[in-house]
């Protein structure tokens, strides 16, 4: 096996007394599409935030392309592109201004950046809105700008945190296509989502975490062979929920009994 491009060793993180990550160990090979799933509060976004530099006070070792994230965060950030989930934006800026800002922060050559921005906006059908302030944009339009901002510097690793929120059906197809094309180019993709059907289709390898621990790891077929021939949704429910979810629905219905 080649050297892993991302490697987490015994990564712990706590907020006060609450332990969010309890020793995560992961090795990710270049060119893989990782589906990173887990229930709310499982530690998914904490892992993502550590990887992209938003959280720096964790315990354990994170190596990206052989570089220790703690020792040389700048070098790591250079090769990572991050697309946050419906993140807050300085939305009084226009897409051109915002993406220009990102390009400057990535220290890209201005002419190169300008051309890329124009092309990306055109591809997303936003070229007419490029000089419009984003506070008038719909969720989907903002998400397209965010996706462009994560890809602008042509990163080796792309971290997508629920990238499909707010996008319409056609845009979802575009993004799924984009993910597989990027993977073919050898990019590593770290895909976080609640949408099991999409994860099932785009990922080479699925990692399921619950309560800050990895509880399942493998390709969709491997998971199926371990857990019975179910959809990812069913496997997810089997592994992460103590009671059967049908009971919860029953209890809700029973609330009308009075």
């Amino acid at each position: 096996m080649a050297n892993p491009i991302i490697s987490l060793k015994q990564v712990y993180k706590n907020y006060g007394y609450k332990e969010v990550l309890k020793g995560i160990n992961l090795d990710i090979q270049p060119g893989q599409v990782i589906g990173y799933i887990g229930p709310n509060g499982a530690g998914k976004s904490t892992t993502v935030k550590i990887l992209c530099g938003l959280i720096s006070d964790y315990e354990g070792t994170v190596l990206v392309n052989g570089i220790d994230l703690k020792e040389n965060p700048i070098a790591v950030k250079k090769i990572i592109g991050y697309v946050p989930e419906l993140a807050e934006l300085y939305d009084v800026l226009t897409p051109l201004e915002f993406l220009g800002l990102m390009a400057n922060l990535y220290d890209l050559d201005e002419a190169v950046a300008k051309e890329r921005i124009q092309k990306m906006m055109q591809a997303f059908g936003l070229s007419e809105n490029i000089n419009q302030r984003m506070d008038t944009f719909s969720k989907g339009m903002k998400q397209k700008v965010l996706i462009s901002s994560g890809l602008l510097h042509n990163p080796e690793i792309i971290i997508l945190d629920e990238p499909l929120s707010g996008l319409d059906a056609n845009s979802v197809i575009i993004i799924k296509e984009l993910i597989s094309k990027l993977a073919k180019e050898g990019k590593t993709i770290f895909y976080c989502s609640h949408m099991m059907d999409v994860v099932e289709k785009v990922s080479d390898r699925i990692i399921l975490i619950n309560n800050g621990e990895v509880i399942a790891d493998g390709s969709f077929h491997e998971l199926q062979s371990q857990q019975g021939n179910n959809s990812l949704e069913k496997i997810f429910a089997q592994l992460t929920s103590q009671e059967t979810l049908g009971d919860t629905a029953d209890q809700l219905i029973k609330a009308f009994d009075n």
Partner: protein, 566 residues
Amino acid sequence: MINRFFIKMALLPTTFYRKLGVDSSQLKAILSAKLLMDDRRPAAIQYGRKKTDKPVSGATWATMITTAFLGLLFIFAFFVTNDSFTQFTIYFSFYIFILAATLITDFTSVLIDIRDNYIILPKPVSDNTVLLSRLLHIAIHSTKIILPLTISGLITVGIKYGLLSTLVFFFLFLPATLFTIFLINSIYVLVLKLTTPEKFKSFISSFQIIFSIGIYASYQVIPRLMGNAFLEKYTIPKNISSLFIPSCWFAGAWKFLTSPSGDWYFISTFLLTFTMPILSILIVIKYFAPSFNRKLALISGSEQATVVKQSKKTHIPHAWVYRLAGWVTNTNVEKAGFLQTWFMTGRSRDFKMRVYPGFGYLAVFIFLTISRTKRNHFTNIDLNNTGNILLVLSLIYFVSFVIMQALMQLSFSEKYKASWIYYTTPIRMPGELILGSVKAAICKFYLPVVLIIVLAGIFFIGPGIIPNLLLGISNQILLSFMISFISLRGFPFSQMESAKRKGTSFMRGLMSLFIPFLLICLHFLVFKYTVPIFLLLALSIIANWLIAGSIAQRGWKYFNGNYRED
């Protein structure tokens, strides 16, 4: 507690409501929820109030107390002049202005509560219930402002003119208030006609800024008007043209009701007082309300409505800002900070609200300082006079307080969560970002003032002042860099407003007062000697260069480590 009282009062005529087809338990539910929300939202009238971590509660009391202070301000009307008609005219003018201003700034969010569309409209609530709840809400809200606003006026009139006059006066607030509501509505309709709905909100915030500057100016000016001999003799002429001033109607009606006479003027004011507000309210209901509601619906649906409109501009807007950024910055990161700050300071509503009133206060202050010293005849200032030198110096240096205020606010924003971009990008020297940001603030807020100072200096004093001006300007830029060096610890627009200052802030505050003082003293000592001025200027420029360099060299360790999401 006070809200419960208001709700009880509002719900008294239940049977009447039932006849109107209003469900009173729904009405009560809607009203209590609205008043509860009002109570938890800080009122706009407390401009400049620092937000704290504590959730707002009891905002009603706070608003009432602040409003009472505002009311205190305009009882001056009863003391500046001897003519009672003029006194009441002035009082009512202030009343109408302040009430309109508070209602516009404070009440817009109530009127334009788009959540109604999602929460109440889909529920089985009748139109009449919704309409009545809105009307009662407006009435309760206005009462909360009107009572404290007028209490000091009522007491003053009671002492000066007796009980009957006070009752008449109190009674006259009703037509005056109705008329004010008409005024507000006209303003809304006019603004919505002239601009797009999304610009409406920025209109409101500009209005708030002007309002707070106006209040500051009145607090400064009004005490000086007391005992002014000219004003004491001044009376408003009782002729046709003054009949066009609404506050004259109410003042005239007071005069007519307290001392009836056959004077045609007072009879007409009396008639106008009672016909005009009713007429205007009818106009509001018949003509304004429908188009207003349609426009309001547009505001709530702005997301879909405005995006369609696409700009066909092919050139990059603000190209000159990019060029300027290219001239004054050295690296890409610095440029990013510059452009980010330049664009955000002009567009972010909350930044403008925090900083722009300060500019206004300063303008008022400088204007008053100059007008107080007009005996000096500015056309030929004698610079051998120590007082004059101090005046010129303080005018040059006072301006820096504006840029200070802007600098101190640079790292705060309501959109602080958007600062993830600084943490996920490979910024080697975060200090460069800060330096770019500071440079933008200097270029945007200080350079235009510099231009005015230089022109004014040359015009009023002559070219001889130029070396001193240069030193002053360089020193102020130095001050800006120093203050940023000492106290800017956050990335531009990356921190919550309520973020508490660290324990060292007292020392920092002291430093930021001491340094300007020191610089003014130094400048004063060399004011008359050209050679030392140029020496100091050279030193000041070198210091600028050094400090800017050390801001840029600030590494990650210096900045509050993590991205804060909550």
